[in-house]
Symmetry: C2
Subunit: 292 residues, 2 copies
DNA sequence: CCATCTTTGTGCACGCGTTCACAAAGACAT
DNA sequence: ATGTCTTTGTGAACGCGTGCACAAAGATGG
């Protein structure tokens, strides 16, 4: 889910591959668990299993950090925890602000995993005047007016956006102008940011859609005759539109497509459909325009 | 953040690359926004800009679905919305259960973006008897005892796990045994699942750590002499441990590493450190073992 | 009907990431 | 000290994803 990486060629000689960086937290978590159980050393095989990756991959990942293992024995757990933590910049304290203290923002503020790894919630910010001063997770919510001052006073470089989609772009601009250079975005929008600013996004809806794709695949394999037929109907209808429209004006084609697509979709759905609600998300989230 | 994909070679002839699948929801969102504004057609260039990707990539992605564009004009918005929706399996209704109705689970249940794309929250499940019957987002929470029955009765194939990390593996096993084949996991654990089950994870902590890594990089570039020195000290201490330990037994090396790593880390931190809290997350989240 | 202009669809090359497989390093026993 | 056994670190091959660049398709205007 990485986005917006400028992927500068790393002036620094030691360039750790992005894919490796993304796995380091995984290794760190597994190592921390071992450390708690006072396990002194661990082999690449064992650790890889715990982290859910290939052991060769893990060894190669570690090789980018240096030679921290001992052949015939494995890796020293405590030592590796320290090295990875240092590489990830976790040996220092990162003040973080959360903007948008609604359902999600409040949950994030309450999340313990935040503080447990060197991240400190420096402030909670919301545009709703009614929220101002109200404590969430033991911290008083501050109004958006204070945003710039908060960022600057606390030397914040990492911001979390949990506002409605419509406000996200503007919020990101204010954060960046005030000094933030890393953003974790929970709003379903593509943020436009200048070079040098890293954006990572977490999008529940996208994750579910990807799962749905594979789920449909699985269902399609033990294809019920019924489903195949329904699909064929939809397919045929779609093709008809295309072929017919080819001989028409672009305008006519568009109309034909829109009209034909809906009924065919409805037909394909008929088998599984339970209830057709009005698809209209709250906040700025765009409603799906699928057949109603 | 894809995980656990079995990556079966796709019996079906039409194999859409995983990277493309992950982008389809992005395109769909941009297209839906255009559709709302009644924009009839869109060029690959425009749509790519809206989705934040390269236009060549977008065209190639669409080419896997078929030839849905018109040269010299672009793509028909409505038609493309339908095709992508169908490809993602969004023309059918997917019942979803959320397990673990705490801070996060409740926020998810309240999230409108869920229902807005063909996903229907079929049930909310929690192990806490006190929660049972309590309505969250208009749905009564049900007890874990009912899990299997709920899954089977509603034909649920997609499950969301928002329990503490310690419970996640067990919950996933029950879900899978009851018929779930796709899991969206918010708990910070690597789930062990059988072939044929897709798992995608959302891990806030990992995202922040990745951001911290890049943030540290940026800070290192306009390296203050102070920071360089502190880093060098830590580095030297670390090296010392390694070199010295090489002449000792593994046991001694481990001890030396553990002891030396802490003070050197503390030293490196000294500049930026604000407050050293006891790192102990709630729930099953593993506490970081870094210098206290 | 022809010319021009726009935009798609894709062949191709390149770079990154993954995985295999193995030589070398080192622990440990004798 | 020497041999055996375990496990690392990495060279090399491969496959996937990305982006360039362009030919072909088709719209549009004269
Ligand atoms: N709730 C979830 O589970 C969930 C899941 C995935 C994505 N999201 C996304 O996260 C975002 C927040 O979701 P939510 O359910 O918490 O919504 P919400 O409506 O409960 O909360 C949004 C909050 O943002 C505040 N806000 C609005 N404009 C603002 C601005 N310009 N500056 C600062 N604050 C502002 C509002 O006052 C409100 O408190 C949405 O974009 C949503 O699509 C939510
Ligand atoms: N809150 C966040 O912003 C956030 C962010 C990232 C990750 N997470 C992770 O998501 C998970 C939930 O976080 P939270 O803040 O909501 O925690 P929480 O403690 O508020 O909620 C956990 C809920 O799960 C229920 N539960 C416990 N064991 C269960 C079981 N076996 N079956 C069903 N339900 C069970 C508990 O009764 C509780 O209601 C945690 O693993 C956390 O690490 C949370």
């Amino acid at each position: 889910m990485a986005t917006g990486r400028t992927h500068r060629p790393a002036t620094r000689s030691r360039g750790i591959p992005e894919a490796t960086v993304a796995r380091l937290p995984l290794y760190l978590r597994a190592l921390t668990a071992l450390s708690e159980r006072s396990v002194p050393t661990v082999s690449s095989e064992e650790l890889a299993a715990a982290a859910g990756v290939n052991s060769a991959k893990l060894r190669k990942d570690f090789s980018y950090l240096g030679s921290y293992g001992t052949r015939g024995v494995g890796y020293d757990v405590e030592y590796l925890v320290y090295q990875i933590s240092r590489e990830l910049g976790l040996t220092q304290d990162w003040p973080v602000v959360i903007v948008g203290i609604g359902n999600l923002g409040a949950a994030l503020a309450n999340y313990g995993g935040f503080a447990s790894r060197g991240f400190r919630v420096a402030a909670l910010i919301d545009a709703d005047p009614a929220m101002a001063g109200k404590p969430v997770a033991g911290i008083a919510v501050q109004h958006t007016d204070e945003l710039e001052k908060i960022i600057e006073d606390n030397g914040v470089h990492i911001g979390v956006i949990a506002t409605p989609a419509g406000a996200a772009q503007q919020v990101s601009e204010r954060l960046i102008a005030a000094g933030v250079t890393s953003i974790l975005n929970f709003a379903p929008t593509v943020l436009q940011v200048p070079d040098g600013v890293d954006v990572r996004k977490v999008d529940l809806s996208i994750e579910l859609q990807i799962l749905a794709f594979h789920e449909q695949r699985k269902a399609g394999e033990e294809a019920t005759a019924e489903a195949v037929v329904a699909d064929a109907v939809a397919e045929a209808a779609a093709k008809d539109v295309k072929d017919t429209a080819a001989e028409q004006s672009a305008e006519a084609k568009r109309t034909a497509a829109a009209e034909a697509a809906v009924p065919s979709a409805a037909r394909a759905e008929a088998t599984a459909r339970t209830e057709s609600t009005d698809r209209k998300g709250p906040d700025g989230d765009v409603p799906a325009v699928m057949p109603a």
